[in-house]
Symmetry: D2
Subunit: 291 residues, 4 copies
């Protein structure tokens, strides 16, 4: 059922820049000449902002230059268009550190998808402010770091968190229902690489206790949102959202239970898109290619 691993590398090239005639032509010409053939390709133009976005996947062959050589060849072109860009070998695995609290559903789901090969990344460790998930994490062969966050000394706790994340060279940090607010310096350090799952359909019910508030408001759908964390609580760029139907007979506990399934899938889809370099943040929005 699995495709054979190609002998020659496959690359993802991600580009964003001011829109101008000829970008696609010049980029794809250089790619065709030096790197290989397109196997996937997505473009988007935000006409209002005058901005262009592109993600292509290139299959290299025996005549292709190396990634390093291509980056050098591409740089002048990128400069002339004012591009932000990167090229990644799709076999390269990001290092993903996950953080959780007491609730297990999102973390268990992430670890399952990782173990079964659905999420392609390395998970060097999990950090939690509770001990209860240690057994599950360690059964997966992943180190578990317990970092309590006492009310009086949160700063010290987040210094420890930062130290662990830094030591493991994390590319991406995923908050799998981590119930502490991340301090601004960490938000800034991991801008565009720190993903949270919020248990409501944002911008409804920003902040604490969204299911209780959904119940009190009498809504007929509850939802979840995966987004990049910024300094402003629950206001960062949205990656993915979904909802599920509830009704008058749904208790708060039913909403929480039904919501768990939405949280899991919305977080997993968001993380997968991020790991596959499908997400480009611009302003407070995202382009999510092929989602």
């Amino acid at each position: 059922m699995q495709q054979e691993k190609p002998i020659h590398p496959r690359y993802r090239l991600i580009v964003s820049c001011p829109d101008r005639t000829g970008i696609v032509a010049e980029v794809t010409q250089l790619v065709a000449d030096k790197l290989g053939s397109l196997v996937e390709s997505h473009h988007h133009t935000d006409v209002e902002e005058g901005w262009f976005f592109m993600r292509i996947v290139v299959q290299s062959n025996q005549d292709s230059v190396s990634a390093a050589e291509f980056r050098e060849l591409f740089e002048p072109l990128a400069k002339s268009f004012g591009m932000q860009w990167y090229l990644r070998d799709s076999a390269e695995k990001q290092k993903l550190v996950s953080m959780a609290s007491h609730a297990s559903h999102c973390l268990a789901d992430l670890l399952y998808r990782w173990k079964s090969g659905e999420l392609i990344c390395d998970i060097p460790c999990v950090i939690s402010n509770h001990e209860n998930l240690r057994g599950m994490v360690e059964w997966h062969g992943i180190p578990f770091h317990y970092v309590p966050v006492p009310k009086g000394d949160k700063a010290e706790a987040f210094r420890a968190v930062n130290e662990i994340v830094t030591r493991h060279n994390a590319d991406t940090v995923v908050l799998a229902r981590y119930m502490q607010i991340i301090p601004p310096d960490l938000c800034a350090k991991y801008a565009g690489r720190l993903i949270n799952i919020h248990h409501s359909f944002l911008p409804s019910f920003v902040g604490a206790n969204p299911y209780q508030r959904a119940y009190d408001r009498g809504v007929k759908l509850v939802g979840a949102t995966s987004h990049y964390v910024t300094e402003e609580l629950d206001e960062g760029p949205i990656i993915e959202q979904d909802v599920i139907r509830v009704n008058h007979s749904s208790s708060r506990e039913d909403m929480i239970r039904l919501g768990r399934d939405v949280e899991k899938s919305v977080l997993a889809r968001g993380v997968r898109s991020h790991l596959e370099d499908r997400v480009i943040v611009y302003g407070n929005k995202t382009v999510v290619f092929g989602a």
Copy 2:
């Protein structure tokens, strides 16, 4: 494909009261003895509030008492349980007055469903603060009242609206994208009978320009909400909600277009539930049976 009209009337009995042991037994016993057999039946207990809700549909027969007689027989039982209740012949058509502004999609959809027999009601007239929908309304054989709402004299306009609605003995008023705020006295007069469609997934984007704000926030789903109108704008009891997927390539115009279909179906489902006596308002919430 259509069921034959029964010769004997079919009734809906709607009850809500403090929860207590024996309500269903006593009500269904009286119904079985005097009115006929159950063909539909829904109960709900709000355990937290200690409140009970019931909607049953009863098929009468040649031995049944009349509706008037049943009401008299039922009254002592209702009193003993502290019930709010009503009995309606399901062949009885409510009088529904619809109000619209410039946008046609919700009104056109309501009129189509009415004409094709999907919404069972009479529509004595349509009121609008614009002239452009007159042709469509009159083609359906429905009188069209143009009541402009000038900035300086809204009170006078709503006196005229009230007069028309009252003259037609409206049971229910449906705001099919009517873009004026209803004054508090009309909200109070038609409490629980005045239905609005809001073009967002409430409580997201209360107030004006929800699609623009959804676009600016970068949400991945847009929605609509049908709800009863109260004095507080977009805060009334929710009847029905739904959403549709959008993405980074969806312009505001795309969101508006996709949203129109959600608005139409969410309003139609809300109105249908209301006309079939499936909705019970309590506090700021609704029970919607069998939706």
Copy 3:
């Protein structure tokens, strides 16, 4: 967040019988007199078949008779209406044996929901015709039985399966992507208690390789179906179904991956409804109350 466990038992009473005036009245009267108060209640009348279905949940109190006494008191009434019925203490846990093959997603999901208290049952063992899931199952503290099904001697294998299932007094057997056809005698023995997940939206793609066939047909949605197993392959009563959107860019592998999430949730919802006595089979259909 959890409700306190009631000191007095809570019962589920499930009834189906020919429709007649007065059933609800008589049943709820006896319940109110002897057993307690209704906390949940669902009825359905299949008008065409003239058949009535009911599921009520009753909270008993210090004055209630015991379950055994109530069953005795109920029997004459049940007989007079020709009822099929049972009363179950909702604290009673069914014994659920799950069977799987090589794919882990459905089984992992079931075990997670069981461990986290979302599926209330005992799981005395898991049976598989492969060894690869042993580690995961045993980590949950559940015995794992490896019963290979060799091409030449399937009958012997299913004798072993039957022996294991019988020894554990299984109330319910769940096929969590078990890829062998169950022989007719086992289908008959566990009629209405043997649940399968089929990886298509039945009746589309009955039989083998549904994702391949969905891909070949160019469908725009793929789905899954949980159903009771009968002798006729994939033709048993459907409990739950759902679908997910695919498009021209979805490879077979994408369909399989996206379908896994649908399979998991459709199976979990079906099993949960079954364990909560919400499903009544009649003919080749199901009534699923409150799903």
Copy 4:
């Protein structure tokens, strides 16, 4: 809210051909040099079939060549890659003839979307084998042709249909619940331009009475499918599908009613994609860009 009409034309270029390195580069280079700038762009590679598909939207400017000139310039390139292709001015309106029978919902929905500017096309006439929709069609200012299809002489009827469709130079024919089987010669003549709505989630319930059969099978979702008509009944390339939830309490009439809304939106989305040149048929499948 509406975008201003551009003074210079906007073009759609649709291409499919055997996959090869350099296609995008060469096409977009010629476009950038001669025609204008990309405002929309979709590619797809069917890796298995080795086939490439592209749809781009190009905004021309004062320096652009004309459409005719561009076609001439493009032809050699197209030949060298073995392309099937066309270029269309997006202001050009297709001529769409719709055919219906007795049921009004799909036709009413199409006409509403056409009248409100959501479907950009001309509708020179509607053909029906019943008279009942004449009033609605003519109110929209569209000629209505009544062509009965008597059991004994269907061939004559379809000669008349063909004559009308041909006389109006129809680009596209839409069967909006037209309940007669189209003869093979018409299927062939309008291959890839004759769209039908089937009232089931194909390949479930091919042929007659899908709702009855869905009801009998006890499915938990009903659906609809828009597809191109081929000689084999309900087996043509699928454009769009969707489903809606039903349950044990849904009668056949409920399924038909709920299904109508799905039919309408699935047909409208299919027709819209077709009119915007987003659909490419290959084999018995479709690529639907940006749906």
